[in-house]
Amino acid sequence: MTKDHWSDHLILIVGVLFLLTPLWLLFASSTHSVDTLIREGLQWLPGGEGLAPYGQALTTASGFTDTATGLRMLINSMIMGVGFAVGKIIVSMAAAYALVYFRFPLATFLFWAIFCTLLLPLEVRIVPSYEVVSDLNLLNSYTGLIVPLIASATATFYFRQFYKTVPNELLEAATLDNAGPWRFFKDILVPLSRTMMAAIFIIMFVVGWNQYLWPLIMTTEEGYYTIVMGLKHILSVVREGRVPEYNVAFALVILAMLPPVAVVVLFQRWFIQGLVESEK
């Protein structure tokens, strides 16, 4: 086991190439001019346009009004990713605290009510969910974009699992010190959960950023478009038979994947922990 076998490396390299070549191809092509792309197709090496198409992607709007620029959509996605992750962490930490540390009559019933949300993903109840949000006048709002997505129990179970591993002596010590339930939560449990919060934040940020269907049906005002759903406009241009500005389109696609990829690569350790623990 001391020496690496060359064939192991070969298989891994083939795997990496399989996964990353499409992304490289798109990135390299995004730095070419539209003419080159139409004449010669996708390019393997970076071209003369440099990052100019990215500037264009950030400042020009793809929709009918000029509110949905690349930058605006990136900001909306950021609000959605961060808002979703933070909201989910707060709501589920509080709920898990109630479930683990208190005995109250409705506990079991509420636990199963929360559990039920795992049975029916948003994609399946999409039409009635839309109706509810529209009845509540939440279409075209950040609240409407974020809050309905929080109604799933994954993070609650994750924190519930974690609280159960917290030693009981801490609670005993806190009760001896006359700390109330709020003090115990704020001064002991939250600081202890820091790593877990970071790990789940990474996962939830990626999930929130990557939402597609929900923003697609929720937003009719272009000022609320997120970048992942905004990409759909590129496709409708192509499907209508018009020639899109390919390089700008590719730049937008790269911009849409950059933030979540950066988060996963930079916080690799937390990401692995969050992924492995949250799915259990």
């Binding site: 298989i11 509080a94 540390y101 039409v127 509810v132 339930p181 939402q211 992942v228 492995v276």
Partner: protein, 294 residues
């Protein structure tokens, strides 16, 4: 349900803490879910002005519709193939990454990268790579003698969709398999080394059974992925075309409910999907009880 021996005294506090979650779940989960159930027993007139109770009529229409049954079969085959290939490739990569000593972490970073890409973004990327005007893959397949035409040929479109879905799902499986492999105690690995010379036999008789719980759990994750999360991928890559040959059950709920505005039929499909997920969850629990853990 919890093993904390000492608990905080009874008070209104827990209700305050759990209230936000319950409120959100009630409004944005139970209300729409109940509506789906209710609407699945109703028939709306074409103008959406009135609706009447029709019992199981929507379900009867659904299961007599050859198109729906075709979608059903496609979804099953599609999720089976996507799960199988993405699990197999990820397992191979994880075993190799666990074998080597040098360069483990760069490989891990590069192989998990694609996890962060949204299914919809993966679909658009693939759309351009297969695109006739600028793409490279359709031309390559044609040069190899395969008359590849995903726009018109249902089989080709399905191959394309499966390939992209597998591509997107490999990283998740890789992370879990690698974590599973690294969780195998060193003593067991050393004992295996002494007992069994042949590395292949060693893998199938010792390592693989130890990974079985991970693999089973991942199977559920992968089926769930193929069912639900591939929505964005399908909507950007094929939109169910040609002729509905790449439409999954979830995509059809959206097509009938939003584009076709047939609420009763779409709701009945939601309920069928809910029952499928329920069955999947029950299977999951049964297997965990039977302990594939060794």
């Amino acid at each position: 349900m919890s093993d904390k021996r000492q608990r905080l005294p009874h008070s209104p506090v827990p209700y305050l803490f759990i209230a936000p979650q319950i409120l959100i779940v009630l409004i944005f989960f139970f209300w729409p879910a109940a509506q789906a159930l209710y609407l699945s027993f109703m028939l709306e007139d074409p103008w959406g002005l009135s609706s009447q109770f029709v019992g199981f009529e929507n379900y009867r229409i659904l299961f007599n519709d050859p198109e729906y049954l075709g979608t059903f079969v496609f979804t099953m085959v599609y999720s089976a193939l996507v799960s199988f290939f993405s699990l197999a490739i990820a397992l191979l990569l994880a075993v190799k990454a666990n074998n080597i000593v040098r360069g483990q972490s760069p490989y891990r970073v590069l192989l998990t990268w694609v996890y962060a890409i949204a299914p919809a973004v993966a679909g658009i990327t693939a759309y351009f790579i297969f695109n006739r005007q600028v793409g490279v893959l359709s031309g390559l397949f044609n040069d190899l003698g395969w008359d590849f035409a995903p726009e018109t040929d249902g089989f080709d479109a399905s191959v394309m969709l499966i390939l992209v879905s597998v591509w997107k799902q490999i990283p998740v499986n890789f992370v879990f398999f690698l974590a599973g492999l690294q969780g195998i105690p060193k003593s067991i690995r050393e004992a295996a080394h002494i007992d069994c010379e042949n590395p292949q036999r060693r893998f199938w008789t010792i390592t693989f059974p130890l990974l079985a719980p991970t693999a089973f759990f991942l199977l559920v994750i992968n089926v769930t992925y193929a069912f639900f999360e591939t929505f964005g991928l399908i909507d950007t890559l094929t939109q169910g075309r040609p002729g509905g040959s790449t439409t999954t059950l979830v995509y059809k709920v959206y097509q009938d409910g939003f584009l076709g505005a047939d609420l009763g039929l779409s709701s009945a499909q939601s309920v069928v999907l809910m029952l499928l997920v329920l069955a999947l969850t029950v299977v999951q629990f049964r297997f965990i009880e039977r302990k594939i853990h060794y």
